[in-house]
């Protein structure tokens, strides 16, 4: 990754930064002394970034420990501490299998988070790396979902395995895996219907789809990626937990970071569930899905 990615990520995060760390900076420059009010305000700023009360409390506690131990002279040093604490939490290594073709990627998430668009961007990423790809239209429920993936397939010139709307998603996925294996495709990416994690029957359907993928992997690695919308609040944690329990989540794609939302809930997800952020979506263009790097991410937030 060159400097290009860094600046692009930074540009995408510019607005995020303004509201998130910008205000942290405000807090830190306002308070010259380390005081309970300072911690309280810091906690508030973290909560306002969707970090959540639990995780905000955890971060502040860690910060207080550091301060107690190292006794910094000014509040300026606190910024560095907080940065390091956040980086540490976010530094969960991404699944190694993502780099090893042949590979199957199962993309899951609730409705409207940007699964299909993320799949197109992922396919583009692997294509740029010179890998062959195949898309599987596993969302047979939402009106127009198959067409949406087909349009992307045409644009990227990548084949899309699909049935018609209302078909059994398990059957499409079976065909998709068979095709990928027969063609020795490097990376097969499977779209699934958006489903609220609270719908028990839809979660069982997902388990079945997952099982079929798993049974037909051949020599492939399987990576399950959960797509989360950066504008989502505390519910994202519940989503991550439930999808994790249902099919196992190997990593997170965080979309829509080009808005003003902070996506702070991913901090809670990494802290509490130990799940790695793998990709971040910072724009509508195909190139706007970026590999997540904790240092860059936090650096972009603070700079």
């Amino acid at each position: 990754m060159g400097a290009g990615i860094f600046s692009r990520l930074k540009a995408g995060l510019a607005k995020t930064k303004e509201r998130f760390i910008g205000s942290l900076e405000d807090v830190l420059s306002f308070h010259q002394q380390i005081s309970p009010e300072l911690y309280e305000e810091l906690e508030e700023v973290l909560v306002s970034a969707d970090v959540g009360i639990d995780t905000a409390t955890l971060l502040i506690e860690k910060l207080q420990e550091r301060v107690k131990k190292e006794k910094p002279q000014s509040t300026a040093g606190i910024m560095e501490y907080l940065k390091e604490i956040i980086i540490e939490i976010l530094s969960v290594p991404p699944p190694a299998a993502l780099k090893e073709a042949p590979l199957a990627i199962l993309v899951v998430g609730v409705n409207g988070v940007g699964k299909t668009t993320s799949i197109a961007k992922l396919a583009d990423f692997y294509q740029q790396e010179g890998k062959s790809g195949l898309l599987v239209a596993g969302d047979t429920f939402r009106a127009g979902a198959i067409d949406q993936l087909k349009v992307w397939g045409e644009r990227l010139q990548i084949d899309v395995i699909h049935h018609q709307e209302g078909a059994d998603p398990g059957a499409v996925v079976f065909d998709g895996m068979a095709a990928a294996n027969a063609r020795r495709t490097d990376v097969v990416i499977i779209d699934t219907a958006g489903r609220l994690h609270t719908k028990v029957n839809l979660m069982s359907e997902l388990k079945k789809v997952h099982r079929i993928v798993h049974q037909n992997l051949g020599s492939r690695n399987l990576v399950n990626l959960l797509v989360l919308d950066a504008t989502t609040g505390q519910n994202a944690l519940a989503q991550a937990k439930t999808f994790q329990e249902a099919v196992g989540v190997d990593g997170i794609i965080l979309t829509k970071l080009d808005g003003t939302a902070k996506g702070g809930i991913t901090l809670a997800i990494s802290a509490q569930l130990g799940l790695p952020l793998v990709w971040v979506g910072v724009g509508e263009g195909l190139g706007d899905l970026r590999p997540f790097v904790a240092e860059e991410f936090v650096e972009a937030l603070f700079s």
């Binding site: 909560v47 969707d50 609730v110 409207g112 949406q148 504008t231 609040g233 519910n235 994202a236 003003t260």
Partner: protein, 441 residues
């Protein structure tokens, strides 16, 4: 985790607040600290929380505590009233233009559920005897037009789209088409866009100027976090929204975003999306969502039930009768009916202060049996109800026939009645010493 069981923690705090009379500042502060956490956890924007808490505090300090509520419960009651008031109190209808068609512009971020909502709203209007035209003005997302066409087919509604035209032209063309074909509502689906994307926000402004909509509705995902305020504010500033639609309420989100967007725009929430099926759209009930955001369903229903159906004087009267051994099957029936009004017994028990949810694990009260008991008592003569000792074998058979149960069941009831009478008398006498009578059951 610290707040892993927020609701349990909250209940503990509220229980600790005891005492009667007026709400003191200390009572209010202590309870509101918990309320604040509950609201933040529900994704209400932290600035909105701050404003809200201050407002409630002003109102609450010095208020009389309703009898049979603790100060903590009283604060929650005030919070809930204020929340409901803030959310708009009553359901708001869709505008109707004096000169049809009524033009409704649907806007929002990507993935909020605009296209599905347009389909559902069309279906709802059709059910009300209206003739909506759906308009596919999202020319950016691949297959968005196709999606609306499919939804239109399902709902049996026409869908207007125009290849090669820009969204402004499509909107104008659609309104003209609606006039020609005598459609009375035009529902325009627009592309999802970021509120900070000047170019695309400008496009919406152009549509607005071109077709002068009667309603501009912002569709917001109920799971949205703190950013909901920024989104709603930007859309409102640029387009002058007339209402909001909250989607994906069938998730387990507490939906605090609703309060944020309401506070940020002052516009009413008109509809909520509650599922993936076409008919899963409902008018908005502020009170229901207020309870959900607050997340204190049990305390709230307890307060409500205390207010609506239990009169303390009645309970006292009953107590006296029990103590004097005058408790009859008629009283028993009266109590049963009150119980029924209160809802499932185990739920009611779990609401009582001092009873922890875990104590009730395994307690199952059979509602069906309650019905039988009612039928049995109703099959008795007034005299039998007052003097159960006169109920002999032949009377038992008659009562059993009359209520459609077996004689054994009648026997069981009579035994149970005698036993509970004894037990209640003991309890009541125990209570004489100053223990406040609550529910004799």
């Amino acid at each position: 985790m610290l707040f892993s069981n927020l609701s349990e923690r909250l209940q503990d705090t509220l229980r600790r607040l005891r005492g009667k009379g007026r709400l003191t500042e200390k009572d209010v502060d202590e309870a509101l600290r918990e309320v604040k956490l509950a609201l933040l956890e529900a994704d209400v924007n932290f600035k909105v929380v701050r404003i809200f808490i201050n407002r409630v505090k002003e109102r609450a300090v010095g208020q009389d505590v309703v009898r049979s509520l603790t100060p903590g419960q009283m604060v929650v009651k005030i919070v809930h009233e204020e929340l409901t008031r803030l959310m708009g109190e009553k359901a708001e209808k869709l505008a109707v233009s004096a000169q049809p068609p009524t033009v409704v512009l649907i806007v929002g971020l990507q993935g909020a559920g605009k296209t599905s909502t347009v389909g559902k709203l069309g279906g709802l209007l059709k059910k009300e005897g209206r003739r909506p035209l759906l308009v596919a003005a999202d020319i950016y997302r691949p297959a968005a037009i196709r999606q609306l066409q499919i939804l239109g087919e399902k709902a049996g509604l026409p869908v207007y789209s125009a290849e090669g035209k820009n969204p402004v032209e499509i909107a104008v063309g659609a309104v003209a088409r609606a006039r020609e074909t005598n459609r009375d509502y035009v529902l325009i689906d627009t592309a999802g866009r970021l509120h900070i994307n000047e170019e695309l926000m400008g496009e919406l402004e152009e549509i607005r100027q071109a077709v002068n909509p009667d309603e501009i509705l912002l569709v917001v995902d109920a799971m949205t976090g703190q950013d909901a305020v920024n989104v709603a504010q930007s859309f409102h500033e640029q387009l002058a929204l007339t209402g909001l639609i909250l989607t994906k309420l069938d998730s387990d989100t507490r939906g605090g975003a609703a309060l944020s967007i309401r506070e940020a725009t002052g516009q009413p929430i008109k509809f909520v999306g509650v599922g993936e099926k076409m008919e899963n759209i409902e008018v908005f009930h502020p009170e229901r969502l207020a309870s959900r955001i607050l997340g204190m369903g049990d305390i709230l229903s307890f307060i409500e039930k205390v207010e609506s159906s239990i009169k303390e004087d009645q309970a006292l009267e009953m107590m006296k009768r029990i103590q004097k051994d005058q408790f009859t099957l008629e009283d028993f029936l009266g109590q049963l009916r009150q119980m029924k009004k209160l809802g499932p017994l185990d739920q009611l028990l779990s609401m009582l202060p001092g009873i922890k949810p875990q104590q009730l694990k395994g307690v199952q009260i059979d509602e069906k049996e309650m019905k039988h008991i009612e039928a049995i008592i109703q099959s008795m003569t007034p005299q039998e109800r007052r003097e159960p000792q006169i109920i002999n074998a032949s009377r038992r058979r008659r009562i059993a026939r009359g209520s459609g149960v077996s004689v054994q069941e009648v026997n069981r009831l009579l035994n149970q009645f005698e036993q509970s009478k004894k037990m209640m008398k003991q309890l009541a006498n125990l209570g004489k010493g100053g223990l406040k009578p609550r529910f004799p059951f």
